[in-house]
């Protein structure tokens, strides 16, 4: 074939170009350290590299999240551990105090320490990490002047509306709006109304409780005979056959008759020292129907009584009456408002109570994987409020001060509780010292602001009363349960420890002294109780601590997984997009040699021409 100079020239140029292009590529790879400088260099590798880069970035972020979560979890665990240490110290105090050699003055000093422990616990509960409260669910910040921290001391835990005895009217559906939601129809009784309110509590967040109703007869029981229809309580006829009643009900015939029908009527009877009947309706409804004879003997007039209601909610709430006369809907609940509108937006002060203002429903979560999250906190409700740590510590302080008892037990066991005391043989040493008289029971309702005291006089008549009778008088008092246990101890306890406390005093019958309800004894019993509670509390706290420990471990494990994966990704990525320098240098050397030889060959070839030889 004819090869012209142009052909040679073009070929030389083309080949030199190709080599310089490759040289440039290798040079670029070496100088930038990257194998890929544009998508077309290696689209498949680039696709892989892009995916890996995203993954690497994600892993880095997950590790950041884990670091953050680790900090959070360790802090929570630490705070709980310290609270646990406080309870250990509290238990030491309680054990020390429940000892006869300790003087009341010493106990008062211990109460001061218990108070410090309580305050310390509140402080720890309000621990902040990086400005975030760790036991507050989602409400890590954003507190107000009225609610400056998640755990606020001295404020009632709920917004409450305490009613006076309501009007005896039924409610039609829609008569009352709670937080804008219509209340269903309800009968005239408070328990009906409370039921209707609780039926929509899910939506409104407002619940209702019935305060027990206690009614004292107008006069002492007179002697006489009661027959069918003479006394009906809540529609139940108490006497089906004629029964004779002694003056002051000295043989307790009337009392026993009423208490026998307790299951049906929901009403228990007791009697004060003056012989007045006291009827207590736990569900707040008491309908008395008496004949003239019945009224004369029992001192009870025909009347319907309604107990009071307590409405409460974690958030402020409104009640709006939509009845024709604007107050009627509210009056049906025993509440008053402004032109039919009642807004409850203030929390009552309550000594020793903790208001949890944080978020009670959620735990903070962090992202630890493409589809997985890890809870790094426990909200204050679950972590602390539900353990009862604050109330237990508060109770310890109260008991050390000898106040606000919730469970009382006499020191001396009785053998026989059915015989009248005068007959002897009750097993109580000194039973003969009991004289006719009375003592007072004070039940304090701490949910009302200020706390409301209900004072009952319990009469003791050794001639007629057995130990059982005395217990029966105490049992069924609002918020109180009393019974002799199998070991022969009288146990008097409140039905709701958060709400009520009980005190016994003014003993003119010497019953309390003889049976062993003495001040120090009651204190010891209560301290024993609080020790048991502290043990339970420590269990709960330990459970939570180990939960956080486990999560901390999970974070470590997850972090390890991501570190390993991160390394693998980084390695893959560097293989995909970083220059293999050794190979690149080899390439460079090869290209360099090729280029030099090409240049040399070109110079020689292009010099050759016939003209030089002419």
């Amino acid at each position: 074939m004819r090869v012209t100079m142009g052909t040679i020239h073009r070929n030389i140029l083309q080949n030199l170009n190709r080599i310089t292009e490759q040289l440039n590529l290798v040079n670029g790879q070496i100088s930038s350290g990257r194998r890929l400088s544009k998508p077309s260099d290696n689209p498949v590798d680039l696709a892989g590299a892009l995916g890996l880069r995203t993954t690497a970035e994600e892993i880095k972020q997950y590790q950041r999240n884990l670091l953050f979560g680790d900090h959070f979890i360790r802090s929570s665990e630490n705070a709980l551990r310290q609270i646990n240490d406080l309870t250990v110290r509290a238990k030491e105090l309680a054990i020390q105090a429940a000892n006869a050699v300790v003087t009341p003055r010493d106990r008062a000093n211990m109460a001061m320490e218990a108070r410090h422990l309580f305050e310390q616990a509140v402080m720890l509960a309000n621990t902040q990490v990086n400005g975030k409260f760790i036991f507050a669910g989602y409400r890590t910040s954003g507190y107000t002047n009225t609610e400056p921290v998640p755990f606020i001391e001295g404020l009632d835990s709920h917004y409450r509306a305490n009613s006076s005895p309501p009007a005896d009217i039924a409610l039609a559906a829609g008569d009352l709006l709670i937080n804008g939601i219509a209340l269903g129809a309800a009968g005239a009784s408070v328990s009906d109304k409370a039921g209707a309110i609780n039926a929509i509590a899910q939506q409104t967040g407002v619940e209702a409780k019935v305060n027990p109703l206690s009614h004292q007869a107008g006069g002492p029981v007179q002697a006489g005979a009661l027959g069918s229809g003479d006394l009906r309580i809540n529609g139940i006829d108490i006497f089906t056959e004629v029964t004779s009643i002694s003056g002051m009900d000295s043989d307790s015939a009337l009392l026993n008759a009423i208490n026998q029908r307790k299951e049906e009527t929901g009403v228990t009877a007791s009697r004060d020292a003056a012989g007045h009947l006291i009827l207590t309706a736990v569900d707040g409804y008491l309908q008395i129907e008496t004949t003239a004879n019945g009224e004369a003997i029992t001192g009870l007039a025909s009347q319907t009584y309604h107990g009071t209601l307590q409405l409460f909610s974690l958030r402020s709430f409104t009640l709006q009456s939509t009845t024709a006369s604007p107050e009627e809907g509210l009056a049906a609940l025993g509440l008053t408002g402004d032109n039919g509108l009642l807004t409850v937006h203030e929390l009552a002060r309550r000594e020793g109570s903790i208001r949890y203002a944080g978020d009670p429903d959620h735990d903070l979560e962090i992202k630890v994987g493409a589809r997985s999250t890890l809870a790094i906190s426990k909200n204050g409700q679950d972590a602390l409020m539900d353990t009862g740590v604050f109330s237990v510590l508060k109770r310890l302080e109260n008991f050390l001060l000898g106040q606000n008892y919730t469970e009382l037990r006499n020191a001396l066991p009785a053998a026989d509780i059915t015989r009248p005391l005068a007959e002897g043989g009750t097993g109580l040493p000194g039973e003969g010292r009991i004289v006719k008289g009375q003592f007072t029971v004070t039940i304090t309702d701490h949910e009302q602001a200020p706390p409301a005291d209900l004072i009952f006089n319990i009469g003791v008549d050794p001639e007629h009363d057995s130990l059982e009778d005395i217990a029966a008088r105490l049992n069924g008092l609002p918020g109180l349960a009393a019974a002799w246990d199998a070991a022969g101890h009288l146990v008097i306890e409140v039905t709701d420890k958060e709400r009520y406390s009980v005190a016994l005093a003014d003993d003119s019958s010497l019953f309390l002294q003889v049976s062993g309800f003495t001040g120090e004894n009651m204190q010891f019993e209560s301290l024993e109780e609080v020790i048991a509670e502290l043990e339970l509390l420590m269990d709960k706290l330990n459970h939570r601590i180990s939960d956080f420990g486990a999560r901390g471990n999970r974070i470590d494990a997850q972090n390890q997984i991501w570190s390993n994966l991160g390394l693998a990704v980084a390695e893959n990525l560097s293989q995909l997009e970083e220059t293999d320098l050794i190979k690149a240098f080899m390439d460079l050397k090869a290209k360099e040699i090729a280029y030099q030889s090409a240049l040399a060959a070109a110079a020689k070839t292009m010099q050759l021409s016939l003209m030089n030889y002419l």
Partner: protein
Amino acid sequence: MAGISHVLNIAKEALLTHQLSVQVAAHNIANVDTPGYTRQTLNLITRLPTPSVAGILGGGVRGETITRQYDQFMTHRIMKQQSTLGNLQAQQEGMRVVETIFNEAPGLMLNDLLSKFWASWQDLSDNPELLATRQSVVQMGHLLHEQFLTMNSEITRLKFDIGVNLDTAVSTVNSLTRQIAQLNLDIISSEGQHKANDLRDQRDELVKELSQLLEVTYFETSNGAYTVLLSDGRPLVDSTDSWRVAWSDNSLFWISIDKDGREVQTELCGGAKLGGQISGWLEVRGELLENNPHNFLGRLDALANALIREVNQQHAQGVGTQLFGQELTGAEIAANIDGIDAALAGFKYGDELRTDGGSFDIWLYNADSSLRLSQPVTVSLEGANTLYDVANAINDAIVNAGAAGALHTSVVDNRLALTPGAGHQFAFANDTSNFLQVAGLNTFFTGYSAGTLKVNDAVANNLEFLAAARVGEHGQVFRGDNSNALLITNIQRHENVRFTGGAMNTLDGFYNSLVTEIGTRGRALSRNYEHNSLVSSQLHELRDATSGVSLDEEMANLIKFQHAYSAAAKLITTSDEMLLTLLNSVAR
């Protein structure tokens, strides 16, 4: 009868002929570097003989024609190859720029920004209370906006630049066809017995230039003129006539004159099949056109579109650390459609709306952030067709819930405006209708495409509106709530994101496949181009084997011609001597 003068005559002719040979060689040597030049040679033949006693006596030499060493087959092949190469070259040039727009190889581009964007949401989920983390999410949003905008405007600029190239190429085509027609005329008129070699070379060069721009076929007619046809058979040059082409809307048009003398533009179908640079440019430009979900720009738009939709749908259901206490206006505009004012279908994301059974919740609060109603107001979009219907539905729902005056909704300039009453605030939740996203209420991004993606001013101007939280079951709003931020981070790995055009992928995956495709295209083009330039140079080699000027050869020829010339001169000397001898003998 031949005499000595006959010898003299032969010698003279030989002198002239060889001189001509030298001249032809000189022409070749001079044009050794002229593009398209075809080596010429002088064809020598013997002159007419004369009868003599001994028989027929040769009459010497004569230069017959100067012919080109023309390889028609190769020339045709080269023209075709030129089209292919031109096409590839144009595409490669275009794709190189496209590649730089989508150059993810060094990082710090969209892929990287998307990763960092999601990471910023995770940082936000760790510390939703901090303004700094909010700021960084919004900053990443701004960076995404800038990146998308840059890519979009680079694409627009490239499209413009390609348009300029196309303008030039089309006018070059039009000028080339005119020149070829002119050369046809010149060749027809100058050629008689001899071919107009240089004019033909020139014409071939023009055709070659033309086929680089557009694939053409051509043939020579009997009078020596070229007829040049487009690949679909429409004529560009016929004898001395030429036709023009024009381009618009990414198509090429062929302009003819109808019988009334008017210009008629006929669209040439299949831009790609037209071949040459023009179709290469058109092809790349086609990837950059708007409103095609399958081309490069369309897919970038689809990415932005899906990103905006996914983030907004989740964001709109959340709540920031601050409730809306001032008028809130939707960021998106409902266009009027078919005479219906503010039609819901007139929203850019109108297709996303679920009016059947769809609803969203509005929580109402007092100025102190306490609840106005303990329940949210649920707004049903059942049967809503226009924004006015939605405004009425909201207003009715609020009145029915007993909160008249807490919030008033109206339509302003085809956008929804929610104005809380004095001392009231509001928040959104539980949107099953997608209305909030569609109307741009409580959204993170605004816009619908790469060129329009932007951080919603409402959020950019007030970081407290960045919705990391969700309104709780009881209407509570907490600063530390990160649940919505966590849900938004899930979008990154959501595998069934819908894209305009029907694709389903992750956001990353969709974009990465676009980049990979661009890379693959670029790579295939480079390889193709490299291969075809090799073919092309081989074809040129083959052509040059016949038509190229070899200086060595010309040198050798020159010596040969010089010798022949010297010999002819010697012949004259010889015949002169012969005549002298003769004359001397006569004189004596």
